[in-house]
Symmetry: C2
DNA sequence: TAAATTAGTGAGTAATCACTCACCCAAGGG
DNA sequence: CCCTTGGGTGAGTGATTACTCACTAATTTA
C-alpha cells in the first residue's frame, strides 16, 4: 500500500478532545488539515470556518488569534510526534530488560512509522511551521528536557555498559539515532509516499546500519 | 564560533548574478533574506521592495508574479544545496582513486557543512518551501536523475566491489548517507546554531557511525 | 425564576495584499 | 534627431485579510 492512509488525527491525540464543544472540534480538525496542506500563512480564517461549517467569528470565540489556534493545535502534539518514548507501547518495551539494542530500535522504528503514516498531516504541519515560530521549537525543547531526557539517558547508558553502543556523549547518540529514523520516515511518508518502496528492506537496512554504526570500534 | 556567519549568498551561486540590472539583484537578495526569515507566504511584495530600496512595481517588471520570484530564486540553487557532488571541489576529490570511503565522506561532510554555514538562508528557504510547492521537489528530482545519479551510482558501486559498503540497493545507500549528513547539518546550522557544539567530535562520530554502519556485516 | 454564562452567528471594518498602469529617464540605432 | 527599448517609479485597484461586535438561543447558576 503505497499511499499513507488518511486517518482522523485529533480524536486519539488531543487531550480530552471529545469533551470540547463541537464547533471547536470542527475548527481544530479543519485547521489541521488546511495548515498541513497549504501552510499556516496561506490559510485564511475564512477558509477554516467554511471548511469546518461554522461562522468565522466562532474561531475567535475559542482562540484569541489565528496564531494561538496554530499553537494550541501543535503544542500538545509536539511531544507525541517527535518523542515516541513517551508512548505507552514503547515504554512497555523499555520496561523489559532487553538483551539487544536492535529489539528496542526495531520496535521504535516500526511504531513510529505506523504512527506517522496515520498522522502524517500533523508531522507535515510541525515540520513546516517549526522554522517560522520559535515558540514551537522552544516548547519542544522544554518538554524534552523535563520529561524525556532522564529516561532516555539511563536507557542509553545501559546499552553503553553492555558495549552495544560505544562511548560517546548522550546528545551525540541521540542525534545519530533520530537522524537515522527520520531519514526513513520523512522520505517514506512525506516526500515520496507514492514510490514503490520496499519498506521491509528499508527498515532492515536502516536498523542494520544504525546498530553496526553505534557499536564499538572493531579491535584489529 | 557558535553563530553561522551571515554571508552574501547569491553573488557566488546565482548564474551570472553580476550581469543582472542592479534593481533585480537587490530584489533577489532582499527576497531571499525575507523569505528565509518569515516564510514565502508571510512576506509581502511591499516588504521586499522596501527592503531592497526599489519601487514595488519593479518586482513585477522582472518577475511575472511573486511565485515566479520564489521559483527563480530557488530552482537554480536547489542542486547546489542538496547535491554537493556537483561541486568542482568534490569532483576533484572523486577524480582521485580514493582508497577509503572515509576520505570521500569526510571531504563531503566538511565541504557541505561549510557551504551551508555560509548559505544557511538558502537552505532554510528551500526546506521551508519544498513542502508547499511541488514544482520545487519535482525539479529537484529531475536534476538529480539526469545529472547526478549516474556519477554517484558508479562511485558507490566502486566502494561496494571494494567491500567498503555492503550489498544494498543504490537508493538505500544514498538515503542512509544523506540522512546521516543532514542529521548533523540541520541541527548544527538551522535548529540550534547557538549551542556549544563540539563540532569536530560530532563530525568524527557521524563519519565513524556511517562507515561502520555501511560496512559489510562482520562474519562470526 | 432571574441572572449570568456559554456556544454560535454573520454582517461589518480597517488594513493589507498582489498586481497594474501611466509615466520618467537615459542610451542606442536608423 | 526622432524613436524605440529597458530600467525604474509610485499612485492606484479590487480582492482578501484577521478580527470585532451586536445579536440569538440554550444551559447553568444563584
Amino acid at each position: 500500500m503505497p499511499n499513507p492512509p488518511l486517518g482522523p488525527s485529533l480524536e486519539s491525540l488531543y487531550p480530552n478532545f471529545e469533551n470540547l464543544p463541537p464547533g471547536q472540534r470542527r475548527i481544530l480538525s479543519a485547521a489541521l488539515e488546511l495548515f498541513a496542506e497549504k501552510g499556516y500563512a496561506a490559510t485564511s480564517t475564512g477558509a477554516i470556518a467554511k471548511s469546518a461549517g461554522v461562522a468565522e467569528g466562532l474561531i475567535f470565540k475559542h482562540f484569541r488569534s489565528k496564531k494561538e489556534l496554530l499553537l494550541q493545535l501543535a503544542r500538545p502534539l509536539l511531544l507525541e510526534v517527535f518523542f515516541p518514548l513517551s508512548l505507552r507501547r514503547i515504554q512497555a518495551i523499555m520496561a523489559q530488560k532487553h538483551p539487544h539494542l536492535k529489539n528496542l530500535l526495531e520496535a521504535l522504528l516500526r511504531e513510529r512509522l505506523a504512527f506517522v503514516k496515520q498522522h502524517h498531516r500533523l508531522l507535515r504541519l510541525v515540520i513546516q511551521e517549526i522554522w517560522l515560530h520559535p515558540e514551537l521549537l522552544q516548547s519542544l525543547q522544554e518538554q524534552f528536557e523535563t520529561q524525556l531526557r532522564p529516561d532516555i539517558e539511563t536507557q542509553l547508558k545501559h546499552f553503553q555498559t553492555q558495549a552495544q553502543i560505544r562511548e560517546m556523549p548522550f546528545g551525540t547518540a541521540l542525534r545519530l539515532i533520530l537522524s537515522a529514523l527520520m531519514g526513513l520516515i520523512i522520505p517514506r511518508v512525506l516526500l515520496f509516499p507514492d514510490w514503490p518502496w520496499q519498506e521491509e528492506a528499508e527498515i532492515q537496512a536502516t536498523l542494520q546500519t544504525l546498530i553496526q554504526g553505534l557499536a564499538p570500534e572493531a579491535q584489529p
